[in-house]
Every structure is written in structure tokens, then in C-alpha cells.
């Protein structure tokens, strides 16, 4: 069970209050019609699937109902930080202890 501190509510709550939104920091292409099939497929389906520190979107479904970002180690499930949409992570695979 992950304990997640929503950066808007501030309190640490169990993972069941939250839903998962996949990899973070993927910008929607400004002009989808101009993309090649490869670029559109890549945007829709291809993910880093990081083994290590993963930056991902979560949704506080049973709380403030706001989206936020989280850095989590996908191997040992450690929640390293949560930060607001638009923010940048402090933890990356390069600078974490793994």
C-alpha cells in the first residue's frame, strides 16, 4: 500500500484514494493533424516504462479531485516526491541512490 501525500491536500493518504494516470510530462501535440502516423502512434501508445525512478500522473479521486505528479521508484515502490502539475521533479534515475 502506497502512502501518497497529495501536493494540494498535503496529507499522506492510502493509495486507494487515488487513481493512476500513467507517465507524466507528455505534452499533447499542438497540431495533431500535422503529425505522421509514427509520431501520433508514439504519442498515444509508446511509453518509457522506466525501471527505476518513474515520473507519473496521479489523480486524487476520493479527495480534492485534482491531478498531480509523482516520482516513484518502480522497483522498490518508494514514493520519492509529489509535485504539482507544471512543476519539475527533483528526483531522477540519475540522481537517486539506486
Amino acid at each position: 500500500m502506497l502512502l501518497i501525500a497529495c501536493p494540494y491536500c498535503g496529507e499522506s493518504r492510502g493509495e486507494e484514494e487515488f487513481s493512476y494516470g500513467g507517465e507524466a510530462h507528455i505534452a499533447r501535440p499542438p497540431d495533431p493533424d500535422s503529425l505522421t502516423d509514427e509520431a501520433w502512434g508514439d504519442y498515444l501508445f509508446f511509453r518509457k516504462n522506466t525501471c527505476g525512478v518513474h515520473h507519473e500522473i496521479w489523480f486524487h479521486a476520493a479527495g480534492c479531485r485534482r491531478y498531480f505528479n509523482m516520482s516513484r521508484d518502480t522497483v522498490n515502490q518508494e514514493v520519492l516526491e509529489t509535485y504539482r502539475i507544471g512543476g519539475q521533479p527533483r528526483f531522477t534515475t540519475q540522481n537517486s541512490k539506486r
Binding site: 500513467g22 502512434g41 501508445f45 525501471c51 518502480t74 522497483v75 515502490q77
Partner: protein, 421 residues
């Protein structure tokens, strides 16, 4: 015939070795030192990798093959599943692939001279709502058009088949009927890995355990070998079959894949007297259950909602699965659970696998089986070996190439995949 004379397992050899207190059984496979180069290096010594090696040697005469495994053979998802085998998938492409695998399962023990304990006890998929029943009718009709056995059962027939199931109309999850595939069933998962390993070894394939691939060597867009903790191994072709770690391996060669790795959990109870002789699955409430030959109840839970490589899952997922099982089978409420484990499954956006070539020449991928890899083991190995041998997808694997994520020709099997992704 791969095995002959003293190497062949038989009732006679069992008797002979029994008289000698089973002290002189031959080793099932060698543990060779890696050679400098191979025609094909298969990364991943699970069921799919070992089956691929076996069919490369057996069907295509390519015997200068190595299987490289970072742990022990069959130590990953091959032995972390609930060992269910079925082929009742909705879409033609998937149904043909899984049915091809099911046909191979039916003669696998004879083929490998190894008892994989394939038991065609039948699989029930329960329907709890009107929409479930419509989906079930559609799927069974589609199956029958594809020559796959299937029937729609009413609650009375379900109750006769599984008396312990709570079929009363006031149940929390009322059972309105089920789909029934009599030819489906279960197999003993470690025997599948061992059987393929032994048969591949007998055909000259080198199986290397505790050998981890640390890099894939790509020269001018062509894969030429793998760097391992036991040194560099050159390869004419590199074929990956590593399930959960597919993205990591692909990353070594600069290839991106549309898979995400998630924990999938299962648990097993103490041994009980025989009480459940079919496999029962329920998509709507999400639990599936069968009883092994030694009496344990094997229960499958859902896949975690977030990525994870740690072979550990979330407890609330197990709790939900057990809530469903207890409601379906009130008699199991006091059964004690013995063990709980997770495997790292590589889920694909359309719940179907990726089999075939990659953007890097001579580098092949077989991944994305997600929660349905075990049942396809023989079929997966067969079509993957054919794909590697001929540098083009096997006809059954053609719809499952990486290109479908660019063309949009996805094969949505979330309904029949059984496990909610």
C-alpha cells in the same frame, strides 16, 4: 523423436530407477559455458524463450542456439501465473493464435516426453449482468465460427457443474449464466519450463542460467550480440522473450515499445479435498479460481493500477479478488491462504502481444503478452521461432507486429483477456 534409449522418460525407466532408489537419474539438461558466438541468442529462459529455442531446433534445424537467463529457468512469469490454458478470445486474430497454442498443448506431453499435466477440465466465464451475458453470447458465437468449442450455459447448468458456486438469485453478484470452453483447462507450469528446457537441450541448445544481459550490441543498425556478466556473446540474431523487462532490454538497443510493466498477483490456499473440478473465472467481479491436483485452491487477482518491476503487488488488489471469491463461493470463506506472489507482466494497450521484427535488424521481440502469456507458451514459441528463422512474421503473428500501433489496427482483447488492465 527427441529422446531415445536411457534418456527417455517412461514407466519402465521409472520402475528401473525406483529399484535403485532414484539415485541415478540423468541430469535433465547441461550447464555449458557460453560459446563465443551463436546463430541465435534468445534472451529470457522462461516458457516462451525455451519453447522458441526448442522449435528453432526442432522445426527449423537451427541448433546453434543459446538461451540466456538472468535467474533460473522458468523463475519468472512462467511459474507465477494461475496456469490456466484456454483459447476463447473474441477477435479472429487472437482466437487463431491462442487456438493454435491450445492444439499444441493437447499433444505437448508426448511431444516433450515430459508430463506437463495438461488437464482439459473446462473453463467457465461467469456473467453477472445482462451486458455480461450479451458479451458472452457474442464471444461464444465468434469462437464457434472460428472452430473453437464453446457453449453458453444458464444458471441451472452452471450450478450443476459447480455445486459450490452461489447461484441463488439474491447473491451479491447474481450469476445469470456463463460461457463454457470444455477443451480449456490447466497445466503444471514448472513442468512446461522443464519439459521445453530438457527437449531443447537434447537438440543441442545451450541453456545458460544466472547469466544477465547488460547490453545489446548494435553495429550500424544491426544487432550482433549481447554483453553479459559472463562476457560478450556474438549472435547472428538476438531474440528477446523477457516479458516484464522488455522495455529495459529494448532500451539497450534504442527501441521503444508500447508496453507497461505491472505486477500481477496470485495466491494459493492450503490443500483441500477435491471440491472444484473446473476453472471458474469472473471478469465482472474480478477473481478466478481453480483447484490443483494436489488440492490447493489457486486464485488469481487483478493487475496493479500502476507500473512496478518489483514482483510485489498491492494488497487492496488481493483483497478485492478474495472478496469476489468469498461471495461466489461462500464455502471458501474460512479457507486459509498459504502463499501470495506477483509476476511482472508487460501489458499492451490492446491486451494483445507483440511478436516480430524490430526497427533494429536481426533483433526480435516477443512481448506484451500481459496477463495471458502462459496459455500461449507453445504457440508463442512456435510462431516466434518461425519468425526468427525466416526474418518475417509467421502468418499467425502478422497481425501482432509493432506496426499496428502506427497503423491503428489494434486487436482489442480487453474483454476476453480476463484480467482487467
Amino acid at each position: 523423436m527427441t529422446f531415445s534409449g536411457t534418456n527417455r522418460y517412461s514407466a519402465l525407466s521409472l520402475l528401473k530407477h525406483g529399484l535403485r532408489y532414484h539415485e541415478n537419474w540423468q541430469r535433465a539438461w547441461r550447464s555449458p559455458e557460453p560459446k563465443k558466438s551463436y546463430d541465435v541468442v534468445i534472451v529470457g529462459g522462461g516458457g516462451h524463450g525455451l519453447a522458441t529455442a526448442y522449435y528453432l531446433a526442432r522445426e527449423h534445424g537451427i541448433r546453434n542456439v543459446a538461451v540466456i537467463e538472468k535467474g533460473y529457468l522458468g523463475g519468472g512469469n512462467t511459474t507465477r501465473n494461475t496456469s490456466i490454458v484456454r483459447s476463447n478470445y473474441l477477435w479472429d486474430e487472437a482466437a487463431h493464435l491462442y487456438e493454435f497454442a491450445l492444439k499444441l498443448w493437447e499433444s505437448l506431453s508426448e511431444e516433450l516426453n515430459f508430463n506437463v499435466m495438461f488437464s482439459q477440465r473446462g473453463v467457465l466465464n461467469l456473467g453477472h449482468t445482462l451486458q455480461d451475458m450479451r458479451d458472452i453470447s457474442r464471444r461464444v458465437n465468434a469462437n464457434r465460427l472460428n472452430g473453437i468449442d464453446g457453449e453458453v450455459l444458464d444458471p441451472q447448468e452452471v450450478s450443476e457443474l459447480v455445486p459450490l458456486l452461489n447461484c441463488s438469485p439474491d447473491a451479491r453478484y447474481p450469476i445469470l449464466g456463463a460461457s463454457w470452453q470444455p477443451r480449456a483447462g490447466t497445466a503444471r507450469h514448472d513442468a512446461v519450463a522443464w519439459g521445453y528446457a530438457r527437449a531443447a537441450d537434447a537438440l543441442g541448445v545451450d541453456l545458460m542460467q544466472k547469466t544477465e544481459v547488460t547490453d545489446i550490441i548494435v553495429e550500424n543498425g544491426v544487432a550482433t550480440g549481447v554483453q553479459t556478466n559472463r562476457g560478450l556473446i556474438r549472435a547472428g540474431k538476438v531474440a528477446c522473450a523477457v516479458a516484464g523487462h522488455s522495455s529495459v532490454l529494448a532500451g539497450m538497443a534504442g527501441v521503444r515499445l508500447p508496453v507497461e510493466s505491472r505486477p500481477l498477483q496470485a495466491l494459493v490456499s492450503e490443500s483441500l479435498k477435491p471440491c472444484l473440478d473446473v476453472v471458474v473465472m469472473s471478469n465482472a467481479v474480478h477473481g478466478y479460481i481453480s483447484q490443483t491436483q494436489k488440492g490447493d485452491l489457486v486464485i488469481g487477482a487483478g493487475v496493479d493500477k500502476y507500473n512496478g518491476y518489483g514482483q510485489r503487488g498491492s494488497f487492496d488488489v488481493v483483497e478485492h479478488a478474495l472478496q469476489a471469491i468469498c461471495e461466489l463461493f461462500p464455502a471458501f470463506r474460512r479457507v486459509r491462504m498459504n502463499r501470495l506472489w506477483a509476476g511482472t507482466v508487460d501489458t499492451c494497450p490492446d491486451a494483445c502481444p507483440i511478436i516480430g521484427l524490430s526497427p533494429v535488424k536481426n533483433l526480435f521481440f516477443n512481448c506484451g503478452w500481459g496477463t495471458g502469456g502462459f496459455k500461449s507458451t507453445p504457440g508463442s514459441g512456435f510462431v516466434y521461432a518461425d519468425t526468427i528463422a525466416h526474418d518475417r512474421p509467421h502468418p499467425l503473428a502478422e497481425p501482432f507486429t509493432l506496426e499496428r500501433f502506427y497503423s491503428g489496427a489494434l486487436i482489442d482483447e480487453h474483454g476476453a483477456a480476463g484480467v482487467a488492465h
